[in-house]
Symmetry: C2
Subunit: 398 residues, 2 copies
């Protein structure tokens, strides 16, 4: 994966893991217009606090440093000092100012970064910088993920072609709420277009709202969630401010790429074997639809039934019933894919459920509940809750 | 367990299970003053709707019929008709009016009750009625529970001794919210005192608020949660209206019995190996303390760490951080039992964590987080999230 204007490299720094890439560096050959959204958790990791402060002052950055294995969260003033040291060293390596560097971390909370190894790793990553390095970075940022996650597209408009590529990680502590509502989820988007900062931030926020903010793995919200988008301007177009020919295509590309990555995160959810689209229709309004969708998508009982391939619509209905959404259970209908199993609050019998159970054998299926109360609609992606999830998270730090 | 004025019996009706008691009957030898609180889930099972309607009209009941294996939920008008048929038959067996009978069910949602077997079971339960039958009833109401749950005390006041005994069930779908905020949880309290209905309802609601409303197993709220308290007046005291000598002792006894049963439910949580008291102190106010306590007690990541005996305070702090409670993470302290592992947002190191991990090897321990933001305080009981929980709930209906 290659995005004009950016070079990238990764290294085995041995921050927590050994024998794998765990530190990545991305450098823009000129100041890149940068947008970002971060976790809304009150408890924010040092690199999140550090980046938020920098982004208040400027929107042009030259380098991004990211590590896995250690979140540098709950590390007090030393965590912030470590961020500054990293930025200073990265600035030296990238040939820019230390305030033009963003740092991002994911991993265990509450440990100080091993700075000596970190610096040695940055040195190695810098010497590995190349135009095709983003794929290595996509591997360096993984924690409990089982596969790297990347998305890429070309945005074509009259007289100009720009490329947009992104890497993401995330498998647990996923219920992102960046901007409006909740993951350790990291996503870094790189684009060769020239853009105005306000437009870039706007389309990033919009794309996050319809992607990462609509997925859940375990309903927890991380201290480190970050989505950072950098646009290098290497394509040489007139900076897009929302009124030019690239506005529509960039907006669509951003949403499409983030939705692809969000789906990959759910598919790679810790221990997950199913990726399930939860759709709520017929709610009184969008807010009610979202309440019901989040309650269903986060219900341990619903998620274990997905694992068991059991069309246990009673749990689905009960989750909607305690979500805070207002509806009459006797008006509710439930479908697994296109197979209806409940009509007006009543089960349609074993034949329908047997067909629904067959649909649930697939890795991907949808659950739709029509509340019969209005025009409100919302959808979310979730995964199943499995014994493997428990093993991963009971043993995570040992 | 014996409460003056009541006889009880149970039977193997074969409603879903075979070879075990699954239907119970309790009869008061005179009209018993009855109080009740039910699930706040919008989706209410037929027997809940049926009982709520009866309780709006009268507060004196003679009999209670309860079954496990089938919740009679999401069964539409037929579910309600079945409740009426059961009441009619029970009235014949108990020698009372059909509006003096309450029906309660727990088990699978969305199936019609097998009425023929139900009637045969009631006949058997009625013929088994005896003064010591409550213990059999405590077994008949179990579903995924691994042990019967009962509590008993004598309330002594000058010139009068009354007995209070209760049976409960519940292991999954536990996050009761009856009265104010969410379980399939059933609890039936029997007392020999004479009481006024308003006082009886008041002390029941109060006791539920500090017991079942402060426990969670999986954060789901059931369609069938019910707590029903019947007072036979067999003790012959002047009916207690809240101003008499029995007011205090009855209030304390009710709270004490419900708290004992709530703890037994958490201890028997589906797949649970730990019973953990989550305490939030130093919150801005009680509301914030409750938000933080519920977020911690319901976090899958925190609960799997309990299973792993891992003092993963980062997850605890992160859960509080996204709970909605307002606090400064740099002021937060965390303790496992009396062992402090975080002071002002910073970890106290491996020595403290090793001691905390030793505390977590016990079946019972507490987690305290002091938010350092005010006088607010709240506590909840929760359990760990284990692979066994997943197995139980993935395979429940098969």
């Amino acid at each position: 994966m290659r995005v004009e204007g950016f070079t990238a490299g990764a290294a085995e720094a041995g921050i927590k893991y050994s024998g794998r890439l765990d530190l990545g560096m991305v450098v823009s050959d000129r100041p890149a217009v940068t947008a970002a959204v971060f976790t809304r958790n009150l408890v924010k990791a040092a690199p999140v606090l550090d980046s938020m402060e920098l982004l208040e002052k400027r929107r042009d950055f030259r380098a991004l440093i990211v590590n896995s294995g250690n979140a540098n969260a709950c590390t007090g003033s030393r965590g912030l000092e470590d961020c500054a040291s990293i930025r200073k060293e990265a600035a030296r390596l990238a040939g820019c100012g230390m305030d033009q560097v963003l740092v991002s971390s994911t991993g265990v909370i509450g440990s100080f970064l091993p700075m000596e190894r970190y610096f040695a790793g940055m040195e190695k990553a810098a010497s590995a910088l190349c135009e095709d390095g983003l794929d290595d970075v996509s591997r360096a940022i993984l924690t409990t993920d089982t596969m790297p996650k990347t998305a890429f597209c070309n945005v074509v408009s009259p007289g100009c072609t720009v490329s947009m590529g992104a890497v993401a990680k995330g498998a647990g502590m996923i219920a992102p709420s960046m901007g409006p509502p909740q993951a350790t989820m990291l996503c870094f988007v790189f684009c060769s277009a020239a853009v105005e900062p306000a437009f870039w931030q706007e389309i990033l926020q919009e794309a996050v709202d319809v992607s990462f903010n609509r997925i859940t793995v375990d309903g927890d919200m991380s201290t480190n969630d970050s989505v950072i988008a950098m646009a290098s301007a290497a394509s040489g177009n007139t900076p897009e401010d929302g009124s030019g020919p690239l506005a529509g295509p960039l907006r669509e590309a951003m949403s499409s790429i983030l939705q692809d990555l969000a789906r990959l995160i759910v598919r790679d959810g810790e221990g997950a074997t199913k990726c399930v689209q939860v759709r709520v229709t017929g709610a009184r309004n969008t807010h009610d639809a979202e309440l019901a969708a989040r309650a269903i998508a986060n219900s341990s009982l619903v998620k274990t039934a997905f694992f068991g391939q059991d069309p246990n619509w009673g749990r689905i209905l009960a989750a909607a019933g305690h979500s805070g959404a207002s509806f009459d259970p006797d008006s509710a209908s439930i479908f697994i894919d296109s197979c209806q199993i409940v009509a007006r609050g009543m089960p349609l019998g074993q034949g329908a459920e047997a067909e629904a159970a067959r649909n649930m054998r697939k890795e991907d299926f949808s659950v739709t509940i029509d509340l019969g109360a209005g025009p409100g609609f919302f959808e979310m992606l979730t995964c199943d809750l499995t014994d493997e999830y428990v093993h991963i998270n009971a043993d995570y730090r040992t």
